[in-house]
Amino acid sequence: MIYHKENIEREGVYKAYFEKFGKDPITYGLYWNDLETYESLLAIAIKDNVEYLEEEPETGAVY
């Protein structure tokens, strides 16, 4: 495994989300190929004050 820093400062929508909900969004990799959509969904979650919700992949499915 590649070891890494854990204390990277959050930026942008990620920082706003953490400040709003006190935790990072829970994701299972659904938007690995589409960060723009993911970030826009986080922005909506912040605006609506509803935590971002992503369903877990079904058994046997890979993204």
Partner: protein, 491 residues
Amino acid sequence: MSSINRVSQLYEQLEKELYSSLLSTLLSNEIVINDGKIVFNTNNTKFFDKEIRSLTTDVKPSVSKIKTELEAAIKSALDKEVIEFTRVDVRATEISKPIINRILKHSNLSVSQGINLDPLFTKIKGRIVALVSKQGGISLQELRDSLQKLIVNKHLVNGYFERWTYDIYNQYRRAGANEIRKKLGLKFAIYEGGEIETTRAHCDKYAGLVLSEKEIEGWKDLPMWNGRPTEGYDPFIDCGGYNCRHRWRWITDGLAAILLEDQGDGPKDLNIEAPAITVTLGNEQRFNEYVNDSEVPELVKNAILKLPIPTEIKSKGLRKGSYYSKSTNSLISETKGGSRVFFHEYGHHIDMHKMRNNSTAEDIQGINSRSINMKDSYSKDLDLIKEKYKGDTLGLIKEYLKTKNLEDYRGLSDIIDSMSSGAFFDTYKMAGHGKRYYKSDKNNKYYESYAQIFEAIARNNKKYLDDIREHFPNMLKFVMDDLNKIANDLP
């Protein structure tokens, strides 16, 4: 022992027979001997003329045996070629039958015409005349010793026929192979035969390399080299020229792709000559367009054609996003992701198909040799990454990726994400599946890496593929090998 070596042995036997026949001749009382010396006179000259002519009859059975053995050697070599071709294409057995018959007809005629001992008899007679013409003649013992040296010790027959035999054997073998490969549509060959002390510089340059049909054809236009026939040179049949030990081993486009990659050429090169293949995947036209794009290597198209396609290929599934479900064999690829995401999901389909079908133990990855090889390749590439980006590895790779078109490099980013167990996405906010995904199944890192590398091969973006090769050479080789095995029905 191969038949061609047996021919050499028969030549040596023939030398002994010739010498033995001549010894019997020398015991004849028809030879005029003066003071213990054979001298040059009309009587002796006529005698040797007659006796040497009769040698043809004496050794006729041996010559006939040599012809049979050489014909058998050529047939055996052609049969071996057919066996090799069968490993590449099962049609080879049927296709080759008329070709082999035609080649053998030609070769048998050439062998019959080629084994002509007259020049050797002339040489023997010339030597005898020269010896007896010496001042005072020559003793019987001296004549015997001299003939033994000429015929047996210096291998008169073998020396004379060796190159001809070797060339006729190899040329007919290569001619047969060339005809068969044309029928099978094979356009790439490995120049086989290794390198020895006497290997020509030309052969040395190409030994072990893969060449295309056009490149081989191009040898005719190269500047002349030592040993190349001055007239009628055919590189498919003559290879490096006289006495050349090399041959063309014809291979599939798929195997050529892997070997060319090692030679420094990518799969893109295969598009030059490969026949056009059309793949039909389903009702949604965009998927057919992606896979039939001219940039997609034939290797990928062939592999896709060889495997059953997913039960459904759609833009929208019951759940959100793009995914491949191995339980329902469904491929869902959202329109927004285009060909990049489609090939990624198709990579999952191929990987999962191989897992389901390769062995009973495949369902839980980690047991069979295929998955062990993938894990090993992954591990080696992980070591390379850590070595390449020492220190703040993820920070350095993030900086590297910022210099690229990030949309094109999401696959590379995701492999790095898998290698950091999702930290590259979660912490560094780079494209990837994230910690929860990689934690949910310890094999997800292998599945995603396979799919991302398949996507890079299939899209065939030269720059991106070069970067994938630079960062993950072992996994790229693994996936290429996998595709080649699929495309060529190899286990």
